[in-house]
Protein backbone atom coordinates (compact mmCIF):
# COMPACT_ATOMS: atom_id res chain seq x y z
CA UNK A 1 0.00 0.00 0.00
CA UNK A 2 2.96 2.34 0.62
CA UNK A 3 3.40 4.68 -2.30
CA UNK A 4 6.19 7.20 -1.80
CA UNK A 5 5.01 9.07 -4.87
CA UNK A 6 1.45 9.53 -3.62
CA UNK A 7 0.99 13.28 -3.61
CA UNK A 8 -0.23 14.95 -0.45
CA UNK A 9 -1.63 18.47 -0.35
CA UNK A 10 -2.63 21.05 2.25
CA UNK A 11 -6.29 22.05 2.11
CA UNK A 12 -6.87 23.73 5.46
CA UNK A 13 -4.96 25.92 7.92
CA UNK A 14 -5.61 26.90 11.53
CA UNK A 15 -3.68 28.76 14.22
CA UNK A 16 -4.01 30.53 17.51
CA UNK A 17 -0.84 32.33 18.52
CA UNK A 18 0.48 35.27 20.52
CA UNK A 19 0.18 37.33 17.33
CA UNK A 20 -3.45 36.47 16.54
CA UNK A 21 -6.36 34.24 17.45
CA UNK A 22 -6.68 32.78 13.96
CA UNK A 23 -4.69 32.33 10.76
CA UNK A 24 -5.70 35.61 9.12
CA UNK A 25 -4.83 37.76 12.14
CA UNK A 26 -1.60 35.88 12.82
CA UNK A 27 -0.51 36.16 9.18
CA UNK A 28 -1.27 39.87 9.03
CA UNK A 29 0.79 40.34 12.21
CA UNK A 30 3.74 38.37 10.85
CA UNK A 31 3.76 40.50 7.69
CA UNK A 32 3.66 43.75 9.65
CA UNK A 33 5.98 42.79 12.49
CA UNK A 34 3.56 42.76 15.40
CA UNK A 35 4.99 41.18 18.54
CA UNK A 36 2.87 38.94 20.75
CA UNK A 37 5.41 38.95 23.56
CA UNK A 38 4.45 40.70 26.78
CA UNK A 39 5.18 40.84 30.49
CA UNK A 40 4.02 38.07 32.86
CA UNK A 41 2.17 40.11 35.46
CA UNK A 42 1.54 37.26 37.93
CA UNK A 43 3.46 37.86 41.15
CA UNK A 44 4.80 34.28 41.06
CA UNK A 45 7.26 35.50 38.42
CA UNK A 46 8.57 38.43 40.47
CA UNK A 47 11.67 36.64 41.71
CA UNK A 48 12.44 34.90 38.41
CA UNK A 49 15.12 36.11 35.99
CA UNK A 50 12.58 36.05 33.13
CA UNK A 51 9.23 37.82 33.46
CA UNK A 52 7.73 37.81 29.96
CA UNK A 53 6.49 35.39 27.31
CA UNK A 54 4.51 35.11 24.09
CA UNK A 55 0.96 34.72 25.39
CA UNK A 56 -1.95 33.89 23.09
CA UNK A 57 -3.69 36.96 21.69
CA UNK A 58 -7.15 35.46 22.24
CA UNK A 59 -7.88 33.59 25.47
CA UNK A 60 -9.44 30.17 24.77
CA UNK A 61 -12.56 30.99 26.81
CA UNK A 62 -13.35 33.84 24.41
CA UNK A 63 -13.97 31.31 21.65
CA UNK A 64 -14.73 28.05 23.48
CA UNK A 65 -17.69 26.88 25.52
CA UNK A 66 -16.82 26.91 29.24
CA UNK A 67 -18.17 23.41 29.90
CA UNK A 68 -15.93 22.02 27.17
CA UNK A 69 -12.98 24.15 28.28
CA UNK A 70 -13.06 22.96 31.89
CA UNK A 71 -12.36 19.37 30.84
CA UNK A 72 -9.27 20.38 28.89
CA UNK A 73 -5.72 21.42 29.61
CA UNK A 74 -4.91 24.77 28.04
CA UNK A 75 -2.69 23.12 25.39
CA UNK A 76 -5.70 20.97 24.44
CA UNK A 77 -7.97 24.00 24.24
CA UNK A 78 -5.54 25.71 21.86
CA UNK A 79 -5.17 22.53 19.77
CA UNK A 80 -8.93 22.19 19.35
CA UNK A 81 -9.30 25.85 18.40
CA UNK A 82 -6.61 25.56 15.72
CA UNK A 83 -7.83 22.18 14.46
CA UNK A 84 -11.42 23.39 14.14
CA UNK A 85 -10.29 26.43 12.17
CA UNK A 86 -8.22 24.22 9.83
CA UNK A 87 -11.10 21.79 9.39
CA UNK A 88 -13.55 24.59 8.58
CA UNK A 89 -10.99 26.16 6.25
CA UNK A 90 -10.73 22.89 4.33
CA UNK A 91 -14.54 22.95 3.91
CA UNK A 92 -14.83 19.82 6.09
CA UNK A 93 -14.09 16.97 3.69
CA UNK A 94 -16.58 14.15 3.70
CA UNK A 95 -14.46 11.24 4.76
CA UNK A 96 -14.94 7.70 6.05
CA UNK A 97 -13.85 7.96 9.73
CA UNK A 98 -11.57 4.96 9.24
CA UNK A 99 -9.70 6.95 6.56
CA UNK A 100 -9.28 10.06 8.74
CA UNK A 101 -6.20 10.32 10.98
CA UNK A 102 -4.70 12.75 13.47
CA UNK A 103 -1.05 13.57 14.13
CA UNK A 104 -0.99 16.29 16.75
CA UNK A 105 2.14 16.99 18.73
CA UNK A 106 3.19 18.71 21.89
CA UNK A 107 6.61 19.10 23.41
CA UNK A 108 5.58 19.28 27.06
CA UNK A 109 1.88 18.38 27.28
CA UNK A 110 -0.47 19.22 30.13
CA UNK A 111 2.11 20.19 32.70
CA UNK A 112 0.11 23.10 34.11
CA UNK A 113 -2.86 20.83 34.84
CA UNK A 114 -0.47 18.37 36.47
CA UNK A 115 0.98 21.08 38.68
CA UNK A 116 -2.43 22.51 39.58
CA UNK A 117 -3.63 19.07 40.63
CA UNK A 118 -0.48 18.49 42.63
CA UNK A 119 -1.19 21.74 44.48
CA UNK A 120 -4.71 20.42 45.14
CA UNK A 121 -3.33 17.12 46.41
CA UNK A 122 -1.07 18.91 48.87
CA UNK A 123 -3.68 21.38 50.08
CA UNK A 124 -6.89 19.30 50.04
CA UNK A 125 -5.94 15.65 49.69
CA UNK A 126 -6.44 13.04 47.00
CA UNK A 127 -10.24 13.15 47.07
CA UNK A 128 -10.16 16.60 45.47
CA UNK A 129 -7.77 15.72 42.64
CA UNK A 130 -9.72 16.15 39.41
CA UNK A 131 -10.83 12.96 37.65
CA UNK A 132 -9.86 14.79 34.44
CA UNK A 133 -6.26 15.30 35.51
CA UNK A 134 -4.87 12.28 33.64
CA UNK A 135 -6.58 13.15 30.33
CA UNK A 136 -5.37 16.72 30.86
CA UNK A 137 -1.75 15.91 31.56
CA UNK A 138 -1.16 13.09 29.07
CA UNK A 139 0.85 14.34 26.09
CA UNK A 140 -1.44 12.55 23.63
CA UNK A 141 -4.45 14.33 25.13
CA UNK A 142 -4.58 17.11 22.54
CA UNK A 143 -4.41 14.64 19.64
CA UNK A 144 -7.06 12.48 21.30
CA UNK A 145 -9.48 15.38 21.77
CA UNK A 146 -9.00 16.52 18.18
CA UNK A 147 -9.61 12.94 17.08
CA UNK A 148 -12.78 12.68 19.15
CA UNK A 149 -13.99 16.02 17.85
CA UNK A 150 -13.66 14.92 14.24
CA UNK A 151 -14.44 11.22 14.78
CA UNK A 152 -11.07 10.14 13.37
CA UNK A 153 -10.46 6.39 13.46
CA UNK A 154 -7.52 5.75 11.12
CA UNK A 155 -5.11 6.42 13.99
CA UNK A 156 -4.39 9.23 16.44
CA UNK A 157 -0.72 9.97 17.10
CA UNK A 158 1.50 12.31 19.09
CA UNK A 159 5.12 12.61 18.05
CA UNK A 160 7.18 14.13 20.87
CA UNK A 161 10.54 15.65 19.99
CA UNK A 162 10.66 18.86 22.03
CA UNK A 163 10.69 21.89 19.75
CA UNK A 164 10.62 19.76 16.59
CA UNK A 165 7.38 18.04 17.62
CA UNK A 166 4.94 20.10 15.54
CA UNK A 167 6.99 19.61 12.37
CA UNK A 168 7.44 15.93 13.11
CA UNK A 169 3.65 15.58 13.34
CA UNK A 170 3.30 17.00 9.83
CA UNK A 171 5.94 14.54 8.62
CA UNK A 172 4.09 11.73 10.36
CA UNK A 173 0.83 12.80 8.71
CA UNK A 174 2.52 12.84 5.30
CA UNK A 175 3.71 9.29 5.87
CA UNK A 176 0.29 8.17 7.10
CA UNK A 177 -1.22 9.19 3.78
CA UNK A 178 1.67 7.85 1.68
CA UNK A 179 1.58 4.52 3.48
CA UNK A 180 -2.10 4.19 2.63
CA UNK A 181 -3.37 4.33 6.22
CA UNK A 182 -5.44 7.46 5.67
CA UNK A 183 -6.69 9.83 2.98
CA UNK A 184 -7.05 12.88 5.22
CA UNK A 185 -4.99 13.71 8.32
CA UNK A 186 -5.29 16.70 10.62
CA UNK A 187 -1.74 17.50 11.71
CA UNK A 188 -0.42 20.09 14.08
CA UNK A 189 1.29 21.03 17.25
CA UNK A 190 0.33 22.77 20.46
CA UNK A 191 1.92 24.12 23.62
CA UNK A 192 0.73 25.99 26.69
CA UNK A 193 3.30 25.41 29.38
CA UNK A 194 3.99 28.92 30.63
CA UNK A 195 4.31 28.48 34.39
CA UNK A 196 6.90 29.62 36.94
CA UNK A 197 8.53 26.16 37.00
CA UNK A 198 8.98 25.92 33.22
CA UNK A 199 10.25 29.49 33.04
CA UNK A 200 12.65 28.76 35.90
CA UNK A 201 13.71 25.48 34.27
CA UNK A 202 14.50 26.99 30.87
CA UNK A 203 16.15 29.91 32.65
CA UNK A 204 18.28 27.43 34.62
CA UNK A 205 19.61 26.20 31.26
CA UNK A 206 20.46 29.84 30.48
CA UNK A 207 18.34 29.32 27.33
CA UNK A 208 15.99 32.30 27.74
CA UNK A 209 16.32 35.96 26.94
CA UNK A 210 16.37 38.09 30.09
CA UNK A 211 15.43 41.36 28.38
CA UNK A 212 12.78 42.11 31.02
CA UNK A 213 12.83 45.84 30.38
CA UNK A 214 11.80 45.41 26.74
CA UNK A 215 9.84 42.18 26.11
CA UNK A 216 8.65 42.97 22.58
CA UNK A 217 12.27 43.30 21.43
CA UNK A 218 13.58 40.28 23.35
CA UNK A 219 13.21 37.70 20.57
CA UNK A 220 15.72 38.90 17.98
CA UNK A 221 17.01 36.08 15.77
CA UNK A 222 20.23 36.83 13.88
CA UNK A 223 20.78 40.09 15.77
CA UNK A 224 24.07 40.63 17.58
CA UNK A 225 22.11 41.52 20.71
CA UNK A 226 20.19 38.23 20.91
CA UNK A 227 20.44 36.58 24.31
CA UNK A 228 18.17 33.54 24.23
CA UNK A 229 14.70 32.47 23.21
CA UNK A 230 11.34 33.72 24.46
CA UNK A 231 8.81 31.14 25.62
CA UNK A 232 5.50 31.21 23.80
CA UNK A 233 2.21 29.35 23.69
CA UNK A 234 -0.18 28.52 20.88
CA UNK A 235 -1.13 25.94 18.31
CA UNK A 236 -1.10 25.42 14.57
CA UNK A 237 -3.02 22.90 12.50
CA UNK A 238 -3.06 21.73 8.89
CA UNK A 239 -5.45 19.52 6.98
CA UNK A 240 -3.37 17.18 4.82
CA UNK A 241 -5.12 15.25 2.12
CA UNK A 242 -4.16 12.93 -0.69
CA UNK A 243 -4.12 14.90 -3.92
CA UNK A 244 -6.69 12.54 -5.48
CA UNK A 245 -9.05 13.00 -2.57
CA UNK A 246 -8.70 16.78 -2.69
CA UNK A 247 -9.18 16.88 -6.46
CA UNK A 248 -12.22 14.63 -6.33
CA UNK A 249 -14.02 17.07 -4.06
CA UNK A 250 -12.70 20.17 -5.78
CA UNK A 251 -10.91 21.39 -2.67
CA UNK A 252 -8.90 24.60 -2.55
CA UNK A 253 -5.22 23.58 -2.32
CA UNK A 254 -2.60 25.79 -0.66
CA UNK A 255 0.48 23.70 -1.44
CA UNK A 256 1.83 20.21 -1.78
CA UNK A 257 3.64 18.66 1.18
CA UNK A 258 6.59 17.57 -0.93
CA UNK A 259 8.76 15.87 1.67
CA UNK A 260 10.10 15.63 5.17
CA UNK A 261 13.72 15.08 6.21
CA UNK A 262 14.30 13.84 9.75
CA UNK A 263 17.65 13.23 11.45
CA UNK A 264 19.26 13.26 14.88
CA UNK A 265 22.45 15.06 15.87
CA UNK A 266 23.90 12.41 18.16
CA UNK A 267 25.84 15.25 19.72
CA UNK A 268 24.42 16.64 22.99
CA UNK A 269 21.17 16.61 24.95
CA UNK A 270 20.61 20.36 24.59
CA UNK A 271 23.43 22.01 22.59
CA UNK A 272 23.17 22.15 18.82
CA UNK A 273 25.93 20.54 16.82
CA UNK A 274 28.02 23.69 16.14
CA UNK A 275 28.37 22.80 12.46
CA UNK A 276 24.67 22.04 12.16
CA UNK A 277 25.54 18.72 10.52
CA UNK A 278 22.32 16.97 11.57
CA UNK A 279 20.22 19.94 10.50
CA UNK A 280 22.01 20.02 7.14
CA UNK A 281 21.38 16.32 6.61
CA UNK A 282 17.68 16.81 7.33
CA UNK A 283 17.46 19.58 4.74
CA UNK A 284 19.42 17.54 2.16
CA UNK A 285 17.23 14.49 2.70
CA UNK A 286 14.13 16.62 2.29
CA UNK A 287 15.39 18.26 -0.91
CA UNK A 288 16.37 14.90 -2.35
CA UNK A 289 13.02 13.33 -1.47
CA UNK A 290 11.22 16.29 -3.03
CA UNK A 291 13.33 16.08 -6.16
CA UNK A 292 14.16 19.75 -5.63
CA UNK A 293 17.40 21.67 -6.04
CA UNK A 294 18.65 24.64 -4.00
CA UNK A 295 17.62 26.91 -6.87
CA UNK A 296 13.99 25.85 -6.40
CA UNK A 297 13.94 27.16 -2.81
CA UNK A 298 12.53 30.68 -2.55
CA UNK A 299 11.95 30.96 1.19
CA UNK A 300 12.90 29.38 4.49
CA UNK A 301 10.93 29.78 7.67
CA UNK A 302 13.93 29.12 9.88
CA UNK A 303 13.97 27.61 13.35
CA UNK A 304 15.82 30.81 14.43
CA UNK A 305 15.05 30.84 18.12
CA UNK A 306 17.28 33.82 18.95
CA UNK A 307 19.84 31.83 20.91
CA UNK A 308 23.46 32.83 20.33
CA UNK A 309 24.61 29.32 19.28
CA UNK A 310 21.48 27.90 17.69
CA UNK A 311 21.02 30.64 15.10
CA UNK A 312 24.62 30.26 13.92
CA UNK A 313 24.46 26.47 13.74
CA UNK A 314 21.30 26.62 11.63
CA UNK A 315 22.72 29.36 9.38
CA UNK A 316 25.87 27.28 8.87
CA UNK A 317 23.71 24.30 7.92
CA UNK A 318 21.55 26.32 5.52
CA UNK A 319 24.62 27.74 3.77
CA UNK A 320 26.22 24.30 3.44
CA UNK A 321 23.06 22.87 1.86
CA UNK A 322 22.10 25.70 -0.46
CA UNK A 323 25.60 26.74 -1.55
CA UNK A 324 25.63 29.73 -3.86
CA UNK A 325 21.82 29.63 -4.17
CA UNK A 326 21.54 30.86 -0.58
CA UNK A 327 21.75 34.53 -1.53
CA UNK A 328 18.44 34.31 -3.41
CA UNK A 329 16.56 32.62 -0.59
CA UNK A 330 14.46 34.87 1.66
CA UNK A 331 14.90 33.65 5.24
CA UNK A 332 12.38 34.63 7.94
CA UNK A 333 12.51 34.08 11.68
CA UNK A 334 8.93 34.48 12.83
CA UNK A 335 9.73 33.54 16.43
CA UNK A 336 10.85 37.16 16.61
CA UNK A 337 7.12 37.96 16.92
CA UNK A 338 5.48 34.82 18.31
CA UNK A 339 8.17 33.75 20.73
CA UNK A 340 9.06 30.07 20.71
CA UNK A 341 5.95 27.89 20.76
CA UNK A 342 8.04 24.76 21.49
CA UNK A 343 5.88 21.82 20.37
CA UNK A 344 3.57 24.24 18.55
CA UNK A 345 6.35 26.00 16.67
CA UNK A 346 6.79 23.64 13.73
CA UNK A 347 3.07 23.67 13.00
CA UNK A 348 2.55 27.43 13.28
CA UNK A 349 5.68 28.07 11.22
CA UNK A 350 4.57 25.57 8.59
CA UNK A 351 1.32 27.53 8.33
CA UNK A 352 3.42 30.67 7.81
CA UNK A 353 5.71 28.98 5.26
CA UNK A 354 2.71 27.68 3.28
CA UNK A 355 1.07 31.12 3.25
CA UNK A 356 4.37 32.68 2.16
CA UNK A 357 4.45 30.26 -0.79
CA UNK A 358 0.75 30.60 -1.57
CA UNK A 359 0.74 34.41 -1.39
CA UNK A 360 4.35 34.86 -2.57
CA UNK A 361 5.35 37.10 0.28
CA UNK A 362 7.81 36.35 3.09
CA UNK A 363 7.09 37.57 6.62
CA UNK A 364 9.35 39.81 8.64
CA UNK A 365 12.13 38.92 11.02
CA UNK A 366 11.41 41.55 13.68
CA UNK A 367 14.01 43.19 15.89
CA UNK A 368 16.93 42.64 13.54
CA UNK A 369 18.83 45.88 14.09
CA UNK A 370 22.47 44.82 14.12
CA UNK A 371 22.84 41.72 11.95
CA UNK A 372 25.35 39.21 13.26
CA UNK A 373 28.03 39.00 10.51
CA UNK A 374 28.49 35.29 11.23
CA UNK A 375 24.95 34.55 9.98
CA UNK A 376 25.43 35.38 6.30
CA UNK A 377 21.85 34.71 5.21
CA UNK A 378 19.47 36.85 3.16
CA UNK A 379 17.18 37.63 6.09
CA UNK A 380 13.84 39.38 5.52
CA UNK A 381 13.59 42.33 7.89
CA UNK A 382 12.22 45.84 7.92
CA UNK A 383 9.28 44.89 5.74
CA UNK A 384 7.73 41.77 4.25
CA UNK A 385 9.29 40.73 0.96
CA UNK A 386 7.69 39.73 -2.34
CA UNK A 387 8.74 36.28 -3.54
CA UNK A 388 9.20 35.35 -7.19
CA UNK A 389 6.45 33.65 -9.16
CA UNK A 390 6.67 30.28 -10.88
CA UNK A 391 7.25 26.74 -9.63
CA UNK A 392 9.01 26.85 -6.30
CA UNK A 393 9.43 25.24 -2.92
CA UNK A 394 9.72 26.62 0.62
CA UNK A 395 11.40 25.02 3.60
CA UNK A 396 10.48 24.96 7.26
CA UNK A 397 13.15 23.95 9.77
CA UNK A 398 12.49 22.74 13.31
CA UNK A 399 15.00 21.43 15.82
CA UNK A 400 14.51 20.18 19.34
CA UNK A 401 16.41 19.54 22.56
CA UNK A 402 17.62 15.98 22.29
CA UNK A 403 19.12 16.66 18.87
CA UNK A 404 15.97 16.21 16.74
CA UNK A 405 16.02 17.81 13.29
CA UNK A 406 13.00 18.09 11.00
CA UNK A 407 12.96 19.84 7.61
CA UNK A 408 9.66 20.09 5.74
CA UNK A 409 9.34 21.09 2.11
CA UNK A 410 6.18 22.54 0.63
CA UNK A 411 5.81 22.89 -3.14
CA UNK A 412 3.67 25.25 -5.16
CA UNK A 413 0.68 23.75 -6.97
Amino acid sequence: MTDSTRRVVVTGLGATTPVGGDVATTWEGLLTGRSGVRALEDERYTELPVRFAGQVAVEPLEVMDRVEARKLDRCQQLALIAAREAWADSAQPEIDPERLGIAFATGIGGIVSLLDNYDTLLSRGWTRVSPMSVPQLMPNGAAAWVGLDLGAKAGVHTPVSACASGAEAIGYALEMIRSGRADVVVAGGTEACIHPITVAAFAAMRALSTRNDDPTHASRPYDLGRDGFVMGEGAGALVLESAEHAAARGARVYAEVASVGMTADGHHIAQPDPEGAGAARAMRLALEAAGATPADVIHINAHATSTPQGDIAEATAIKSVLGSAVDDVAVSGTKSMTGHLLGGAGAVESVAAILALHNRIAPITANLENPDPEIGLNVVHGQARKLRDGDAVVLNNSFGFGGHNVALIFRSV
Binding site: D65, R66, V67, E68, R70, T127, R128, S130, P131, M132, P135
Partner: protein, 77 residues
Protein backbone atom coordinates in the same frame (compact mmCIF):
# COMPACT_ATOMS: atom_id res chain seq x y z
CA UNK B 1 -37.40 23.35 44.16
CA UNK B 2 -35.68 22.33 47.41
CA UNK B 3 -32.47 24.06 48.35
CA UNK B 4 -30.59 20.81 47.85
CA UNK B 5 -32.02 20.33 44.38
CA UNK B 6 -31.20 23.93 43.54
CA UNK B 7 -27.60 23.48 44.70
CA UNK B 8 -27.21 20.18 42.89
CA UNK B 9 -28.65 21.66 39.70
CA UNK B 10 -26.07 24.43 39.84
CA UNK B 11 -23.31 21.82 40.16
CA UNK B 12 -24.57 19.73 37.23
CA UNK B 13 -24.91 22.88 35.15
CA UNK B 14 -21.31 23.80 35.97
CA UNK B 15 -19.94 20.34 35.16
CA UNK B 16 -22.05 19.37 32.15
CA UNK B 17 -23.62 22.58 30.92
CA UNK B 18 -27.16 21.22 31.21
CA UNK B 19 -29.70 24.06 31.51
CA UNK B 20 -30.79 24.44 35.14
CA UNK B 21 -34.49 24.08 34.30
CA UNK B 22 -33.87 20.64 32.75
CA UNK B 23 -32.32 19.29 35.94
CA UNK B 24 -35.29 17.80 37.77
CA UNK B 25 -35.59 15.04 40.39
CA UNK B 26 -36.66 12.39 37.87
CA UNK B 27 -33.63 12.82 35.57
CA UNK B 28 -30.97 10.09 35.52
CA UNK B 29 -27.38 11.37 35.59
CA UNK B 30 -26.05 9.02 32.91
CA UNK B 31 -29.03 8.53 30.62
CA UNK B 32 -30.64 11.97 30.74
CA UNK B 33 -27.94 14.44 31.74
CA UNK B 34 -24.92 13.13 29.85
CA UNK B 35 -22.87 12.76 33.03
CA UNK B 36 -20.19 10.13 32.43
CA UNK B 37 -18.30 8.34 35.22
CA UNK B 38 -15.57 11.01 35.34
CA UNK B 39 -18.06 13.86 35.44
CA UNK B 40 -19.95 12.01 38.19
CA UNK B 41 -16.78 12.10 40.30
CA UNK B 42 -16.71 15.86 39.81
CA UNK B 43 -20.38 16.16 40.77
CA UNK B 44 -19.78 14.11 43.92
CA UNK B 45 -16.71 16.17 44.88
CA UNK B 46 -18.64 19.40 44.43
CA UNK B 47 -21.62 18.06 46.44
CA UNK B 48 -19.35 17.04 49.31
CA UNK B 49 -17.88 20.55 49.39
CA UNK B 50 -21.18 22.37 48.98
CA UNK B 51 -23.36 20.36 51.37
CA UNK B 52 -20.71 19.22 53.86
CA UNK B 53 -21.59 15.55 53.42
CA UNK B 54 -19.55 12.49 52.59
CA UNK B 55 -20.57 10.33 49.63
CA UNK B 56 -18.48 7.14 49.58
CA UNK B 57 -17.69 5.51 46.22
CA UNK B 58 -19.90 2.57 47.21
CA UNK B 59 -22.93 4.87 47.45
CA UNK B 60 -22.44 6.62 44.13
CA UNK B 61 -23.78 3.69 42.09
CA UNK B 62 -27.07 3.97 44.02
CA UNK B 63 -27.50 7.61 43.02
CA UNK B 64 -29.07 6.97 39.63
CA UNK B 65 -31.26 10.03 39.48
CA UNK B 66 -31.05 13.60 40.69
CA UNK B 67 -33.80 12.75 43.17
CA UNK B 68 -31.71 9.86 44.57
CA UNK B 69 -28.83 12.26 45.19
CA UNK B 70 -31.06 14.90 46.79
CA UNK B 71 -32.55 12.30 49.13
CA UNK B 72 -29.12 10.96 50.08
CA UNK B 73 -27.72 14.43 50.75
CA UNK B 74 -30.78 15.50 52.78
CA UNK B 75 -30.52 12.33 54.87
CA UNK B 76 -26.86 13.01 55.61
CA UNK B 77 -27.01 16.69 56.38
Amino acid sequence: MSQTLEGLAAIVNEVAGTPIEDITADKAFVDDLDIDSLSMVEVVMACEDKFGVSIPDGEVKNLRTVGDAVAYIDAQS
